[in-house]
Structure formats: structure tokens, C-alpha cells
């Protein structure tokens, strides 16, 4: 039963979606503070290469993830400085971050005497339980059959949700995203809140990137994350800026990514569907989600922060 196509697909979807969960929750936190960071792709790639490098040199997965998060957060400061302090258009500065991050991660992967590229990782994330609980029908593989990062991602979602909706800092953060002028007059430091949560988003994007290079594609290659950074930005909308929904949205995309493989295993006539067509599926889903949900009024209704994308000047009329 635990070997049925459905269960196998669902388990795979969770695995494939986990990198996206981190990145999407990170971007939700950033956007809730009113900052649109289109640099997710770049931050994930920087995290992926930094994490891979750290694990490669220390054989420690924990250090890999920590270094990836630090790298993602540090990298995001470029966007924070440009868009919050210099008030450059958030779109422009985020795109620049992606372009820069993509180049930087390729460069770092190929640099030096002994480049990372083509090397397998010295350690990878593996399911923590073999047998036992993981053998319970259905819930065994779905709940207990994962690697550590999947559980960390669940904790992250729960923590982010609590943070956003039940803490003092979460309240300030949401207020800054809705109406920075009002938040500031209530004594909130708008710039500081935005910096902090752009960096939190960067750290989570870094962790998401590292999940790709240390679990999903554990041999260093250029852009191991595909277009996940862009997908994460679409997922934020699909999740209507709420962490728990991001979890399921990410798994939906994981499933869409997996569907080609599943079709192959089902045999005729399913396996006749061209795999390139199926590979498009996640992107088609992303486009539909954007078209249906991202129109101004609907996005507002769903929870889009009102000040998203707008720079803030205190003395402005």
C-alpha cells in the first residue's frame, strides 16, 4: 500500500516542494513588510552554493544550512539597502539581485583550483526513520518518512504563522506593510522592520536553496534550483500571503513537478504524454495562479499588503 503510485507521488511532492516552502515563507515575511523582493532566485542560488561549499568542506549538513542562511541574508542586504535606504524601485533592485546572484553562484561553483562543479556532496539529507513508524500504512511515509529539513520546514511554517499573527513584532510588520506612515507615527521604525524582514526572507531563501544542493540534486551543477525562485514568488500569491497555505501550495507544485515521472510509471497510455509538456505544468499553474489571483482588487482582498512595492519617505506629502 505504501508503494502505491499515489503515496509515492505525494511523498515525492513533499520532498520536491520543501525547498519552495522555505523560499515562499521567506518571501511572505518580506512582502508582509511591504517589500517585494524579486531576488528570491538569486538568494536561493547563493544559498545553494554556499551551503554546498560549507558541507563540502566540513561534511556537516547543519553547518551547510547555517552558512546558506547567513549567505542568503547577507546577500539580501544589497536589496534592502537599495530599496529601503536609497529608495530604488523594488522591482529593479530585486531583479538586479537575481541577475547578480545567478552569476555569482555559477562563478563560485567554478572558481578555484578545485572547483565544486561536478562534485557530489559530502553529505546529503536522508529520511531519518527507516522502518518502524515510517511503515505505518499511509501516514507512515507521509508523516514519518522524511528527512530532517522537511520537519524543520513545518516548524518554520508554524513559527512564521505565529510570529505574523500573534506577536508584537508580527503586528508591527503587518502594519508596516499596510501603511508605513501610520506605523511610523505609532512608534514603529519602518526602515528597521523592512531591513530585518528582507533579511529573514533572504535567510529562508538561502535555506531553500541549500535544500536543493544538499538533498534534491546533491552534485554541484549550475542553477540546481531550476526556476524555483520565481515559482516561490508566484506561490506567495497563491498562498495569499499566509504561511500555512504556502506549505500546501508548495506541495501542489511539487506534485506538478513530479507528474511527468508518475505518468511514466503508469505505463500506456499515460506514458505517451510527452514529458516536456508535463514539465511545463508547474509554470502553467503559476501563470494561472497569477492571472486569477494577482489582479489588484482580488489580491487586496486575499491579503496583499497595501503598501507592497512602495518606497516610504517620512516627510512626503
Amino acid at each position: 500500500m505504501n508503494d502505491s503510485t499515489l503515496i509515492l507521488t505525494l511523498v515525492a511532492a513533499i520532498g520536491l516542494g520543501t525547498g519552495l516552502v522555505f523560499a515562499t515563507v521567506g518571501e511572505i515575511i518580506t512582502e508582509r513588510a511591504g517589500n517585494l523582493n524579486l531576488g528570491v532566485q538569486g538568494m536561493m542560488l547563493v544559498g545553494a552554493v554556499a551551503g554546498f561549499w560549507a558541507t563540502f568542506n566540513t561534511e556537516s549538513l547543519l553547518l551547510g544550512v547555517i552558512v546558506a542562511m547567513i549567505a542568503g541574508a547577507a546577500f539580501s542586504v544589497i536589496h534592502a539597502f537599495a530599496s529601503v535606504s536609497l529608495r530604488v524601485s523594488q522591482i529593479v533592485s530585486g531583479l538586479a539581485l537575481t541577475i547578480f546572484g545567478t552569476g555569482l553562484s555559477s562563478f563560485l561553483g567554478e572558481a578555484g583550483e578545485d572547483p565544486l562543479v561536478g562534485n557530489p556532496s559530502k553529505a546529503t539529507f536522508e529520511p531519518i526513520l527507516e522502518g518502524g513508524l515510517a511503515d505505518i500504512p499511509v501516514i507512515g511515509p507521509l508523516i514519518f518518512g522524511h528527512d530532517l529539513m522537511v520537519y524543520v520546514s513545518w516548524l518554520t511554517v508554524a513559527a512564521a504563522s505565529y510570529y505574523l499573527f500573534h506577536t508584537r513584532m508580527g503586528l508591527s510588520l503587518r502594519a508596516v506593510g499596510e501603511d508605513p506612515a501610520s506605523a511610523e507615527s505609532a512608534g514603529v521604525n519602518v526602515a528597521r522592520v523592512r531591513y530585518a524582514h528582507i533579511m529573514a526572507g533572504g535567510a529562508l531563501a538561502g535555506a531553500g536553496g541549500a535544500y536543493f544542493s544538499l538533498a534534491l540534486v546533491p552534485t554541484w551543477q549550475n542553477e540546481p534550483i531550476g526556476a524555483s525562485g520565481w515559482i516561490a514568488i508566484a506561490l506567495v500569491i497563491l498562498a495569499s500571503w499566509r504561511p500555512w497555505r504556502a506549505l500546501f501550495a508548495a506541495y501542489l507544485f511539487g506534485a506538478a513537478t513530479r507528474i511527468g515521472f508518475t505518468m511514466q510509471t503508469l505505463g500506456e497510455p499515460w506514458s505517451n504524454i510527452p514529458s516536456s509538456l508535463l514539465a511545463m505544468l508547474p509554470f502553467v499553474l503559476a501563470i494561472i495562479a497569477m492571472l486569477v489571483l494577482a489582479s489588484g482588487k482580488r489580491a487586496r482582498f486575499l491579503g496583499a499588503p497595501a503598501a507592497l512595492g512602495l518606497p516610504y519617505f517620512r516627510e512626503q506629502r
Binding site: T167, R168, L171, R174, A175, E178, S182, A186, G187, N189
Partner: protein
């Protein structure tokens, strides 16, 4: 002075603040005692909000000295000011509209624990509201509240921080007379507790009624100050504008003509789909001002939308000069002679980011001489702009800079100038003098009365009873989307209108 030093809460010495080269505050001196209500008077653009914003830490002064409770201080941010006990209710409220009342109170409060308990917050908000006569539902989201309620939230926000200095920037501009009276009680209570209140207003009788002292600003400078009991309203007005003035009121117009703008059983939907205007009928004649009063939110906005075409009525008719225009678009209605002065000048009436000249041509630019086919004629824009700025005395215009930098009164003059310049058949104005100083109010009222004298049908929708009674030939009261009273202005008294506005129907009602 020395013996008062211990009772001074705030002292400003020689404060300067300029925006884009214009001095909003020029060598301003101001002091505030503990336990007093201190009125700040001045024309639009005199620099009142600027001075208040400096005290609240929002703006930083370019020069000058600031002494807080006897020691020199600087507030770099509103946070600093709040921490010292200074808070402000801004002219344009600063509440986060999709958060609840309780959340707005909690926002930015330094002493809250990390975990926020909604129930506890709501309870505190309720108690505070009761204590100060400022009732609001703590669970409600800000966008669900009326402006009067939002203002109470703003004041509660300050009390929740235990502010010792409360700055209220034109709080009564958005209130009904009854609400203003309630606010004054609260202000006196605050003063009696030893807190200091700065009260900005354009209405001299309010200043007279509630304040202990007044300071008058003109063109960014302090021009005078006095104990309120020694100050004559007439003198204060002269200090504010620098000349004698008289608020115009209408004389009976002998030339009221045939009906020009007619509404027949008009029904218009509200924002949330429910009907907001429920079968309203009236006619406005040439050379007549029909005043529509009511507490805000009783269908005034939707009525104006239905008449101007911003929202097509769901049923009923709008007739202008014998032509049915119910289904016409906004542009078609403008062409046929409907002019509209909305309540929010920026956004609805004026394009904040365009220059004054461009805004002044915003309704005429599609036609010659402003444009020729797709090409605009910048020379004509400029000429037209210069002429209107001069003729309507629009002050503070900076060439090439966006119109949003003008003060409220000047924005309103610009808007009216543009609308009136088209020689409309009907002028629909919503609260045209809201937030304007006496000088600007005089100018705007004169403009409205001039239109009436020219034979325009004027529909004046306002919550300001003084204004309505001064300008209208007839008055109609709107309550929950229905007409609950109509009468000639001679029979209307503030008391009678107030009762009708609150939903008490009287015998003479329609």
C-alpha cells in the same frame, strides 16, 4: 515668565522648517503649559500642521530650540516623541485600516509582551474608551468605522500610551456638531488631569469655547498669542488673515428659474452592494442652492456618484436641462454641463502628481485650444494656468512641482476654479469648505454664491450645518439613504436639522 517655568510642558524657540525652499515655519515661538488646552490658529498653509509634526517627531526642524519639560530635547522620530509622552492625531488619520481597533492601539507600544492577547487588548481598549467618553468597538476593523469613530481610536491610541501632550490637528473638521461637543468634554477632562492639549481649528467659536490660550500663525510666523478669555473672535480673525473679513451668506435670490437638475426616485448601490441611496427625488432650479445635509455615510457619497456618473444609478432618473442623462458616462455629463467638487480633493478631484497648470486644464484638455488632435498645446496650459491662479488667488504654486504640495485651501480653490471655468449648468459640491480657514472659506463661499448668481443650479452636499444654512435656499435631510426632511432655509435651524440627521422624523418632513 520664570515662575511659570515649572508648569511649561513644551517650549519652541525660533523654529525654522522649509520644504523645497518654501518656509513652512519661520522663526516660530510657541509654548504649552501643563493642563491647558492651547488653540493653534492660522490660515491654510500657515504652518500649523508643520509645527505640530515637528513636536510629534515626524518632521525635523531645520533650526531652533526645543525644550521639553524644562530640558532641551530632540525628537528624531515619532517613537522618541511617544516615549517622552507626546502624541498627535494627524489631520489625515494614521490608522492601519485593515487592522482592528485593539491592534491599532497595540501597534508600536513598547511595553507589550511578545505574545499578543487579543482579548486582553480589547478589554483594555473598552475600559479606556469608557473612562474618557470615547466609545468604540475594539473588535471592529478601522475601515468599518465612521470618521468620528476613527478619530476616537486615534485619541485612545494616545491615551493608551499615556501621552502627556496630545496634539489634535483639526479634529472637528470631520465631526458633526454633537460629536464636536463630546470631543470638547473629553479635551477638558484631559486638561483637568494635567495633560496638555494642542487644538488646531479654523472655527473661532470652537476655539473660544474650549481653549485656555491661543497662538496665531500666519505665513509660517507667530503673529500673536493671548489668553482665550481676553481674545475677541474678530481680532483673532484679523490676526489670522491680516485684514478684516466677513463670511458671506446668501441673500434671497429673486431670479430662481426653472428646474435644471432633477433626480427622480434615484437608487444607487453602495460599496458593498447594498443600496445606499433609496429612492431620492428632488429638483434644483437655476440660480438656486439646494443643501443636502446628513451625518456622513448616509448616502451622500453615492448620491453624488449617481448624479455625476461615477456610479450608474440602479434605477430612477437624472435629468439635466430636460435631457435624461441617467445612463451617460462621466465625460458625457461633463460635456453637458455637470461640474463636480468632490470631498477628497486629492485623488478624486485633482491628480496629485501633476502640476497646478495641468490640473487646471484637466477637464478641458481634450478639446481645442488645449489640444489639437493628439497634440497638447503647452502654451495654452500655461496661459490658462496663470490666468486662473491669479483670478482665483491660488497661493503657494511652485512651477513644475506637483499640486499635492499646496495646502488644503489652495487645493480647493484650484479645484473650484477649474470646475467653474467650464460654465456648468449644475454644480455639485461636497463639503467644499471642509478644513478650510476663514479666508479660504470666504473665497470658496463667494465662488459658490457667484455661480448661483450666474444662474447655475447648485447642489451643496455637506455635513457642516453653518455652511449649509449660510448658502442654501432650501435644505433636504438625508438619513440612511432616504430623504427624511425638506424645508426652505428660513425654517431650518441647527436643532431641527440635527434631530432629523439623527433619524428623528418631524411633522414637517416629506
Amino acid at each position: 515668565m520664570a515662575d511659570h517655568a515649572d508648569t511649561l510642558a513644551v517650549e519652541f524657540r525660533n523654529i525654522d522648517k522649509a520644504f523645497y525652499g518654501v518656509k513652512a515655519n519661520d522663526n516660530v515661538n510657541f509654548d504649552l503649559r501643563r493642563g491647558e488646552v492651547h488653540a493653534l490658529l492660522g490660515e491654510n498653509g500657515a504652518g500649523k500642521s508643520t509645527l505640530c509634526s515637528i513636536l510629534a517627531g515626524l518632521y525635523r526642524p531645520d533650526a531652533g530650540e526645543f525644550i521639553f519639560e524644562g530640558t532641551p530635547a530632540t525628537f528624531k522620530t515619532p517613537k522618541d516623541a511617544l516615549a517622552a509622552g507626546v502624541g498627535m492625531v494627524y489631520q489625515h488619520f494614521r490608522l492601519v485600516s485593515n487592522l482592528t481597533v485593539a491592534e491599532n492601539l497595540a501597534l508600536g507600544h513598547p511595553k507589550l509582551s511578545v505574545h499578543i492577547s487579543q482579548e486582553q487588548l480589547e478589554e483594555e481598549a473598552r475600559q479606556l474608551g469608557e473612562e474618557y467618553g470615547l466609545p468604540v468597538d475594539p473588535k471592529a476593523r478601522i475601515w468599518q468605522l465612521s470618521v468620528g469613530e476613527q478619530q476616537r481610536v486615534e485619541i485612545l491610541k494616545l491615551l493608551y500610551r499615556d501621552a502627556k501632550v496630545l496634539i489634535l490637528d483639526e479634529p472637528t473638521a470631520v465631526l458633526t456638531p454633537q460629536e464636536s461637543q463630546q470631543l470638547f468634554k473629553t479635551m477638558r477632562q484631559l486638561a483637568a488631569e494635567g495633560r496638555s492639549v494642542i487644538f488646531v481649528s479654523h472655527k473661532l467659536y470652537e476655539v473660544k469655547q474650549v481653549s485656555d490660550r491661543v497662538t496665531v500663525l500666519r505665513d509660517g510666523k507667530t503673529v500673536g498669542g493671548a489668553e482665550t478669555k481676553d481674545a475677541e473672535p474678530r481680532d483673532l480673525a484679523r490676526m489670522m488673515v491680516g485684514r478684516e473679513l466677513d463670511l458671506p451668506t446668501r441673500d434671497p435670490n429673486p431670479d430662481i428659474g426653472e428646474p435644471m437638475l432633477i433626480a427622480e426616485d434615484l437608487r444607487v448601490a453602495g460599496d458593498r452592494g447594498l443600496e445606499a441611496v433609496k429612492g431620492v427625488s428632488f429638483e434644483v432650479r437655476r440660480g438656486e442652492v439646494l443643501g443636502i445635509c446628513g451625518v456622513s455615510g448616509n448616502g451622500q457619497r453615492e448620491l453624488a456618484y449617481g448624479l455625476t456618473g461615477l456610479r450608474i444609478p440602479s434605477s430612477g432618473k437624472v435629468i439635466l436641462d430636460d435631457e435624461d442623462i441617467t445612463k451617460k458616462t462621466v465625460e458625457q455629463r461633463i460635456d453637458r454641463g455637470i461640474a463636480y467638487v468632490p470631498q477628497s480633493r486629492l485623488g478624486m478631484g485633482l491628480a496629485p502628481g501633476l502640476t497646478t497648470e495641468e490640473n487646471l486644464a484637466l477637464k478641458a484638455y481634450r478639446k481645442p485650444p488645449f489640444s489639437n488632435g493628439p497634440m497638447l498645446a503647452p502654451g495654452v496650459f500655461k496661459e490658462n494656468g496663470t490666468k486662473l491662479i491669479e483670478q482665483y488667488d491660488i497661493r503657494g504654486v511652485r512651477p513644475g512641482l506637483p499640486i499635492r504640495l499646496l495646502s488644503g485651501g489652495n487645493l480647493q480653490k484650484a479645484l473650484l476654479a477649474r470646475e467653474v471655468e467650464l460654465n456648468p449648468k449644475a454644480l455639485i459640491a461636497r463639503s467644499p469648505t471642509r478644513g478650510l480657514d476663514v479666508g479660504a472659506t470666504e473665497a470658496v463661499r463667494n465662488l459658490v454664491l457667484d455661480e448661483r448668481a450666474k444662474g447655475t443650479a447648485v447642489l451643496l452636499i455637506s455635513e457642516d450645518l453653518d455652511e449649509l444654512l449660510a448658502l442654501s435656499d432650501r435644505v433636504l435631510v438625508l438619513y440612511e439613504g432616504e430623504v427624511v426632511g425638506r424645508m426652505p432655509a428660513e425654517e431650518a435651524t441647527p436643532e431641527r436639522l440635527g434631530l432629523l440627521m439623527a433619524g428623528h422624523r418631524d411633522e414637517g418632513a416629506a
